[in-house]
């Protein structure tokens, strides 16, 4: 069983996001990066499948500039066997078709049985790379997977539908599955894993030239049309004002 896991490095939820003066992207120098949340779950799912089968290979594939080797190392430290780094500047690059083509390019010779990806990235949030790759490679696809069961030549996934509904879908291998967060408990790397990761292979490849079919014109802070009443002061004053708001404005008592 050979499993590819697509991992992206994204700004952490508490990282500052200063916008560059040309409004084309954020200032990457000031950003605190982490592994994309749903990708972390996708990685864990792949590692658990390999462990329960007692054989196989988990290959991490990531696209981005040199800085992303931090999350690649993290994935290797958690137990991935090797990695492929498609090295390119991704500032203002938002076209998922172009991104998917870069991945397909490095994956087509590998013969993966499964491709796992996080449902969507916490930066641009296009949420389609895994499905695009599957379709471009002629694989069966399923998104929003919240449980997986691997059998002989197939994978069954429990898909999340809307409003509390679910559905089991069976896919013949090879298949590309987009993983919803929450389906397992991602591990932390062990000290041994961190040491071992240094010896694992990261193959760096050049991207193909692709034409972007959608482009980012500008990014900006939300201009809220909603007037938010800010309640300020010391903690005690805030408590007092909140209760006053509950009573006189929202009228819950």
């Amino acid at each position: 069983m050979k499993i590819a896991v697509l991992v992206k490095q994204v700004p952490g939820s508490e990282s500052p996001l200063p916008i560059n003066s040309d409004q084309k992207w954020v200032d990457e120098n000031t950003i605190a990066y982490i592994m994309n949340e749903s990708d972390n779950y996708a990685l864990e799912e792949a590692l658990q499948i390999r462990e329960s089968k007692g054989e196989g290979e988990v290959v991490v594939i990531s696209l981005g500039p040199v800085r992303i080797q931090k999350v690649i190392r993290e994935a290797l430290a958690k137990g991935a066997d090797r990695a492929i780094h498609i090295q390119m500047d991704t500032q203002s690059e938002i076209d998922p078709l172009s991104t998917a083509s870069h991945f397909v390019n490095v994956m087509k010779e590998e013969g993966f049985d499964l491709v796992f990806s996080g449902l969507q990235s916490d930066d641009i949030g296009m949420g389609q790379t895994g499905v695009l790759i599957g379709e471009l490679m002629g694989m069966a696809t399923a998104s929003l997977a919240i449980k997986t069961e691997v059998g002989d030549g197939y994978i069954k996934v429990k898909r999340e539908l809307e409003a509390g509904w679910f559905q089991w879908v069976k896919l013949s291998l090879p298949a590309s599955i987009s993983i919803q967060s929450g389906l397992n408990t991602p591990r932390y790397p062990s000290l041994k894993g961190i040491m071992g990761a240094k010896k694992k292979e990261i193959k760096v490849v050049e991207p193909n030239k692709n034409e972007s079919k959608q482009t980012l014109e500008k990014i900006y802070l939300p201009n809220s049309d909603k007037q938010t009443v800010m309640i300020e002061g010391s903690i005690d004053q805030m408590v007092e004002k909140l209760i006053d708001t509950f009573r006189n404005d929202i009228k819950i008592f």
Binding site: G127, E162, F166, E217
Partner: protein, 321 residues
């Protein structure tokens, strides 16, 4: 200029997000002087077509095929691809539902045409559409343009438009023939099922105290529960709290949980990811407490408090008692 809308079946009725995309299509068509066609697919196509025909559209296209009676990503993607091939639209609109996320990227790959997802607004610049999309977990907004030749696939976030704003009219219904074969469908789907919600109906709650990642750890959940009890409110949560196992999924508000509209929604340490906001922005009064003044939740909040919930909430509970 032609716009095509793909309407989703929600148990024999048009999915609300489909009605919202009619509003978007009408906006584009009126600005660019174009026509609108709507597409309905599957075993409920007849009823859906009748409902769609009551809107101001030029044509409703009905697709029926035994292989499309039940949803499959491969079947639906192939059907929509064939409709696009036959009708040559410039824009193809969808609601950004879970079903659309599952199959619309496949249409994009089949056609090698871009899919611009999860937009909150559309405007026109020099005869071309410009889409507005949230990025970085709704902390920033972006304007996105298409490159190359049409068609372009576009989806809109839930509640980007109000379905009440869809203009009524009467449209011609036409049945469209497509060619789907069983071998094209690579998946076997079982019937959808609903999991026990654990008896918590948040949709009827008048007051909700909702807890997010900002609560820090499982041991701090009682801080939120105590406030809920003091207010006589139901306890809800955002997805990360459920994912971490701090509360059962029955408490979850958002696109994969419950959609609520209480008199007061008190959000504790919730940053305000899109998936959460779609489930609670219909609340009459939103009060947000978060230590991060940049948290997107403040964009929708009526009342905001920049404070650490662990410090503020116990004192608030005490004062209420």
């Amino acid at each position: 200029m032609k716009t095509l809308i793909i309407l989703e079946d929600n148990n024999g009725k048009i999915h609300r997000m489909g009605l919202e995309s009619i509003v978007a299509a009408q906006k584009i068509a009126s600005a660019l002087k174009g026509s609108i066609q709507a597409v309905v697919i599957g075993q409920n196509a007849d009823t859906l077509a009748d409902e769609a025909a009551s809107y101001k559209l030029d044509e409703v296209l009905k697709i029926k095929d035994p292989l499309l009676d039940n949803y499959s990503a491969d079947g639906y993607a192939e059907a929509v691809k064939q409709v696009i091939d036959q009708e040559n639209p410039d824009y193809v609109l969808f609601g950004h539902s879970y079903q659309v996320r599952d199959y619309a990227p496949k249409v994009s790959a089949k056609l090698m045409k871009p899919f611009l997802v999860d937009n909150v607004a559309v405007s026109i610049d020099n005869g071309k559409v410009v889409l507005t999309k949230q990025m970085f977990n709704a902390k920033l907004f972006s304007d996105i343009k298409t490159n190359g030749d049409s068609p372009f696939l576009i989806s809109f976030q839930s509640a980007a438009f109000s379905s009440d704003a869809a203009n009524k009219g009467s449209a011609v219904i036409k049945e469209l023939n497509i060619n789907i074969e069983a071998s094209m469908i690579k998946t076997e789907s079982e019937a959808p099922f609903k999991e026990q919600a654990g008896g918590i109906d948040l949709t009827a709650a008048d007051l909700i105290v909702s807890v997010g990642r900002g609560i820090g750890k499982e041991e701090n959940i009682p801080i939120a529960q105590d406030l809920a009890t003091a207010l006589g409110a139901e306890l809800a949560s955002s997805r990360p709290v459920v994912d971490a196992g701090w509360l059962p999924s029955a408490h979850q508000v958002g696109s994969s949980g419950q959609s609520v509209s209480p008199k007061m929604y008190l959000a504790l340490g919730i940053s305000g990811a899109i998936q959460h906001m779609v489930g609670m922005k219909g609340s009459k009064n939103i009060v947000a407490i978060n230590k991060d003044p940049e948290a997107p939740i403040f964009e929708v909040a009526d009342y905001g408090v920049v404070a650490d919930v662990l410090e503020l909430v116990p004192k608030l509970t005490e004062a209420l008692q």
